[in-house]
C-alpha cells in the first residue's frame, strides 16, 4: 500500500476578475520528492502556490496537504507547510538570527527549541558567520538564503518555494539547491517554482509544466522532453554565409533556424535537428563545404527546449 501524497491537487480552479486563472490543475507531490512547477510568466505558478499556502481562495477542486483538507483544515495545513515567497520576505532591520527565530516562534517553537531551530536553518543556508547582522546589510544572494532559511525553520513537512533563486550568484544557487535536496532527503515534499530550466533539471524529480492555467505536461524532466518530441540538435557557426538550401538532400538532418553571424554579419549560425548522432559528420562536411566551419556544438534536447516547445516562443506579459 503506497503512502498518500504529501500534496494532492485535483481539478483546482481559480477565477479572478471574471477570468479563469487556473483551470482544473491536477498533480501530486510525494514525501521526499522535489516537484518543479514550471511555466511562463502569468501561467499560474504563483497563484497555485498562493492557493496551496492558504493565502488565496479557490473556486473548485480538492486539495489535501499533509493529509489535511485545505478548505476545512487551514490551520493544520499552515502548521505543515513552510513557505518561501518570491519576494525577500524578511525584516531588514532584524538580524538573520532574529528573523529566523521569529518565524520559528510563529511555527510554534519556544525557548531553546526555537533558538536551535533558527540556528540550524541559518547554518543550512550558510549564514552562520553573519547571523547577528541586520538583513539589510546582506547581499542579494545572502538575503535569498535568509529568505529560504525562514521557510525551512522548524523542519516543515512540505515546502512551497516560489522562485527562491532569483538573482543569486552561482555559489548561492549551489547552496540553495544543496539545501533543498537535503530537505527532500529528510522526507519533506517540495513544490518548487522556477524559470531556471537547468536548475529544475538538476533538482526536480518531477515537473509540472503549466501554461494558461492548465497543466501541459507532467513527469520527470526526461519524460517532459520526450513528451515534447524533441531530437538531438547541432549548432553550426560558419565564417561565410550559408546558402538557403545548404542541407538539401541530406537525410536525417533538418534546419531548424538560421541567421547571420559575426560583427559584419558575413558568417552564419544554423541549428540543425538530427535523427541520430551519426548524421553530425555529414552535416559538418556540408557546412564546411559551403561556409568554412568555425564552431560545431551537438546537444541532446533539454528541459529548456521542451519548455519552449510546449509553451511556444511568443512573449508573455
Amino acid at each position: 500500500m503506497t503512502a498518500p501524497p504529501a500534496i494532492s491537487v485535483s481539478r483546482l480552479a481559480v477565477d479572478r476578475g471574471g477570468r479563469r486563472i487556473l483551470d482544473e490543475i491536477t498533480f501530486d507531490v510525494a514525501r521526499g520528492e522535489v516537484c518543479g512547477l514550471l511555466g511562463p510568466n502569468g501561467a499560474g505558478k504563483t497563484t497555485t502556490l498562493g492557493v496551496l499556502s492558504t493565502l488565496l481562495p479557490y473556486e473548485a477542486g480538492e486539495i489535501r496537504i499533509a493529509g489535511h483538507d485545505l478548505r476545512t483544515e487551514k490551520r493544520a495545513v499552515r502548521a505543515a507547510i513552510g513557505r518561501v515567497p518570491q519576494e525577500i520576505a524578511v525584516y531588514p532591520t532584524l538580524t538573520a538570527r532574529e528573523n529566523a527565530l521569529f518565524f520559528a516562534r510563529l511555527a510554534g517553537l519556544r525557548g531553546a527549541a526555537a533558538r536551535q531551530a533558527a540556528a540550524d536553518a541559518i547554518e543550512q543556508v550558510g549564514l552562520e558567520q553573519r547571523a547577528d547582522e541586520p538583513a539589510a546589510t546582506f547581499s542579494g544572494g545572502m538575503q535569498r538564503r535568509l529568505n529560504l532559511a525562514c521557510g525551512l525553520v522548524g523542519g516543515p513537512r512540505i515546502l512551497l518555494l516560489d522562485e527562491p533563486t532569483v538573482g543569486v550568484d552561482p555559489q548561492s544557487l549551489e547552496r540553495i539547491v544543496t539545501t533543498l535536496r537535503r530537505q527532500a532527503v529528510r522526507g519533506a515534499a517540495l513544490l518548487y517554482s522556477t524559470h531556471h530550466m537547468k536548475e529544475a533539471e538538476q533538482l526536480c524529480d518531477r515537473v509540472v509544466l503549466i501554461d494558461h492555467g492548465r497543466v501541459v505536461a507532467l513527469g520527470t524532466p526526461q519524460e517532459i522532453v520526450a513528451q515534447a518530441g524533441l531530437q538531438l540538435s547541432a549548432d553550426v557557426v560558419t565564417e561565410r554565409s550559408l546558402p538557403d538550401r545548404w542541407l538539401e538532400g541530406l537525410d536525417g538532418a533538418r534546419v531548424l533556424e538560421t541567421h547571420a553571424q559575426g560583427l559584419d554579419e558575413t558568417g552564419s549560425f544554423a541549428r540543425v535537428s538530427l535523427n541520430e548522432l551519426a548524421v553530425v559528420a555529414r552535416v559538418l562536411a556540408r557546412a564546411e563545404e559551403h561556409g568554412a566551419v568555425r564552431e560545431l556544438h551537438v546537444q541532446r534536447p533539454s528541459l529548456h527546449d521542451a519548455f519552449l516547445a510546449l509553451t511556444g516562443r511568443a512573449l508573455r506579459d
Binding site: R16, G17, V90, F102
Partner: protein, 562 residues
C-alpha cells in the same frame, strides 16, 4: 503567546528605527519647548521666568512704597523688575523698544496714601507690544490691589487689637461683678446656716431643763406616795390583826368541841356494844374553810403602788431665734460685647476663585499634553499604517498569514505593540513636562493613565483606518497629516479650545483629541480627582472601539483578493 511574539518583534523593529524613536520622543520635546516658550505670553509667562518682561521702576517718591511695589512684582515670575533713576530714562527705554512698559511712582504718592488722599502711579507703555502691555498692567494692578489689601489688613489688625483690649477690660469688669454677687450669695447662705444652728442649740437646752424638772417632781411625788403607802399598810395590818383574833378563837373552840363530840360518840358506841351499829351517824362538824384558815395565817399583802409615776410637763416652747436678714442686691452683668469694627472698605476688589482649587495655567500646562497628544497620534498613525504597509511590501505579512498564527493576532499584536509604545511615549513626555517644564500632574498623577490609555487606544485604532484607506506609503503622509493636524488643532491640543468659535467646539466633540485634552485639563490644571477622567476615558474607549471595527473592516477588504 503567539500574540507576544508579534508584539516583541514589532517592538524590536521600532527600537531599531532610530528615526521613528526621534520622531516620537525627541521631536515632541523640541516642539513643546519651542511652543511653550514662544507662546508663554499668551498664558502670562512660564513658571521658570525665562520669558519674563523687563519692567523698569522710577522711584520719585523716595519712600518705601517703591520698594514694596518692587518686592511684590519680584515674586511674579512673569516680570523682571529693576530700578532706574528718572522718568525721562523710563520714557526713553520704552520709546527705544528696549522695554514694553516702565513704571513711575511720583513724589508724594506715599504721603497722599498715608493721608487717605487719592494717588496715582504712571505706567509708560508701548502700544505695539499689546500682550506685554496687558500683562504688565495686569501685574501692576494686582500689585496695587495687593498693597491696598495689605494696608487694609494692617489697619484692620490695629482695630482688632484695640477691640481685643477693650474686650479684655470689659471681661475684667464683668468678672468683678460676678465675683461680688457670688460672695453675697455665699454670705446669705452662711447666715441662714448659723441661724439654724442657733435655734437648734436653744431647743436642746430647753428640752434638757424640762427633763430635769420632770425627774425632780417625779422623785418628790414618789417619795411622798411611798411614805403614805407604808402608813396605810401599817394601819391596815393592825385592823386586820384585830379582826383575826376572835375568828381564830372561834375556830379553836370549834376544834375542841369537835374533838369532845368525837370522844363522846366514841364512848357512846363503845357503850352501845353490839348495838353500836344501830346508832345513826352523828352530824359532822363543818371544817373551817381553808381560805379562811390561810387568810388568818398569811401576812397582810402590801398595798399595790405604781412603780413609776409618769408626770407630763409640757411647758411652752421658746420662740426660735431668727437670722439677721441680708439685703438682695441686683448685680446683673451688663452686655459687655464690643461693638463691631468700623468698615474700612473704600475700593471694590476682585477675588479670583479658581473653581475646584485649580492652579494658574502656564504655557507648558497647555503645550505638554497638547503636543504630546499630537505627536502620539502622528506616531501611532504613521507607526500602525506604515508598519502594516511595510509588512505588506516586504511580503512578511503574507508570510505570517501562512503560519498557524490566527490572522487577527497578527493585527492585534501589531496594534498592541503600538499601544505599548504609545503609552510609554505619553508617560515619558509627561514626565519630561513635570521634571523639565514644571507642569502639574494633578492631585492623583496615576489618574492620568486613564485618558492616556484612552487616547492611545483610539489613536492606535485610527492608525488601522488610515492603513485600510491608504494604498501606498506616499498616501499615508498627506492623509495622516490632514487628519491628525485637524484633530489636534480643533481638539484643543495647540491652543485652549475656548478660543474656538462655538460651532467649532461642537464639532470638536466628535474628536477624541477634545476628550483627551478635556480630561488632561481637568486633572492637571483644574486639579480634579480621578472621577473627572472617567467619562472622557469612556468616550475615548468608545471611539477606539468604533475605529477598531472600521479599521478591521477596511483592512479585511484590503486583503481580499481582487
Amino acid at each position: 503567546m503567539s500574540l507576544l511574539v508579534i508584539i516583541a518583534k514589532d517592538l524590536r523593529l521600532l527600537f531599531r528605527d532610530r528615526v521613528a524613536l526621534v520622531f516620537i520622543l525627541l521631536a515632541p520635546i523640541v516642539v513643546i519647548s519651542v511652543a511653550g516658550f514662544s507662546l508663554a505670553s499668551l498664558y502670562g509667562g512660564d513658571s521658570s521666568g525665562q520669558t519674563a518682561y523687563d519692567l523698569p521702576i522710577v522711584n520719585e517718591d523716595g519712600g518705601d512704597l517703591a520698594h514694596q511695589i518692587a518686592e511684590r512684582l519680584a515674586t511674579d515670575a512673569t516680570v523682571r523688575v529693576r530700578e532706574i533713576a528718572t522718568r525721562e530714562q523710563a520714557e526713553r527705554l520704552v520709546a527705544s523698544k528696549a522695554v514694553g512698559s516702565a513704571l513711575v511712582i511720583p513724589a508724594g504718592t506715599a504721603a497722599a496714601l498715608a493721608a487717605g488722599q487719592p494717588a496715582h502711579v504712571l505706567l509708560y507703555t508701548d502700544p505695539v507690544k499689546y500682550l506685554e502691555r496687558l500683562n504688565v498692567r495686569l501685574r501692576v494692578l494686582q500689585t496695587r490691589d495687593a498693597l491696598a489689601d495689605s494696608e487694609r489688613a494692617r489697619v484692620a489688625k490695629n482695630i482688632e487689637q484695640q477691640r481685643d483690649s477693650l474686650r479684655a477690660q470689659l471681661e475684667h469688669l464683668g468678672k468683678a461683678v460676678r465675683d461680688a454677687r457670688s460672695e453675697l450669695e455665699a454670705a446669705k447662705v452662711e447666715s441662714q446656716r448659723e441661724s439654724q444652728e442657733l435655734g437648734q442649740s436653744a431647743a436642746r437646752a430647753y428640752n434638757a431643763e424640762v427633763a430635769r424638772i420632770r425627774a425632780d417632781v417625779e422623785k418628790q411625788i414618789d417619795q411622798q406616795v411611798r411614805a403614805l403607802s407604808a402608813q396605810v399598810q401599817s394601819e391596815l395590818a393592825a385592823r386586820v390583826d384585830e379582826l383575826r383574833a376572835p375568828a381564830r378563837d372561834y375556830l379553836d373552840a370549834l376544834d375542841k368541841a369537835r374533838a369532845a363530840f368525837e370522844k363522846w360518840f366514841g364512848d357512846l358506841e363503845r357503850l352501845a356494844g353490839r348495838r353500836a351499829e344501830q346508832i345513826p351517824q352523828p352530824p359532822t362538824f363543818p371544817e373551817p374553810p381553808p381560805d379562811l384558815v390561810r387568810a388568818l395565817d398569811a401576812p397582810l399583802p402590801p398595798l399595790s403602788l405604781p412603780a413609776h409615776l409618769e408626770i407630763r410637763i409640757e411647758p411652752r416652747a421658746p420662740k426660735p431665734v431668727a437670722a439677721p436678714a441680708l439685703p438682695d442686691i441686683d448685680l446683673d452683668v451688663p452686655n459687655l460685647d464690643v461693638p463691631p469694627a468700623p468698615s474700612l472698605g473704600a475700593t471694590l476688589g476682585v477675588e479670583e476663585v479658581s473653581v475646584g482649587g485649580g492652579k494658574t495655567i502656564n504655557s507648558f500646562d497647555q503645550q505638554v499634553p497638547g503636543f504630546s497628544v499630537t505627536f502620539l497620534l502622528l506616531g501611532l498613525l504613521l507607526g500602525v499604517s506604515l508598519g502594516l504597509l511595510d509588512e505588506r511590501d516586504w511580503g512578511t505579512f503574507d508570510r505570517i498569514r501562512a503560519t498557524p498564527m490566527a490572522p487577527r493576532n497578527v493585527l492585534l499584536g501589531k496594534l498592541a505593540a503600538r499601544f505599548i509604545v504609545g503609552m510609554a511615549q505619553m508617560i515619558l513626555l509627561f514626565a519630561v513636562g513635570y521634571f523639565v517644564f514644571g507642569v502639574s500632574l494633578g492631585p492623583q498623577p496615576w489618574a492620568l493613565l486613564l485618558p492616556i490609555s484612552g487616547i492611545v487606544f483610539a489613536g492606535t485604532a485610527f492608525g488601522l483606518i488610515v492603513a485600510g484607506i491608504a494604498r501606498t506609503r506616499d498616501a499615508v503622509l498627506p492623509l495622516g497629516a490632514i487628519v491628525i493636524m485637524s484633530m489636534a488643532a480643533i481638539g484643543g491640543c495647540w491652543w485652549p479650545i475656548d478660543l474656538e468659535p462655538r460651532w467649532m467646539r461642537t464639532i470638536a466633540l466628535a474628536l477624541p483629541t477634545t476628550w483627551a485634552m478635556e480630561s488632561f485639563n481637568d486633572l492637571m490644571i483644574r486639579l480634579r480627582g480621578v472621577d473627572a477622567a472617567l467619562k472622557p476615558t469612556a468616550v475615548l474607549v468608545a471611539y477606539g472601539l468604533v475605529y477598531l471595527a472600521l479599521g478591521l473592516w477596511l483592512f479585511r477588504r484590503r486583503l481580499a483578493p481582487h
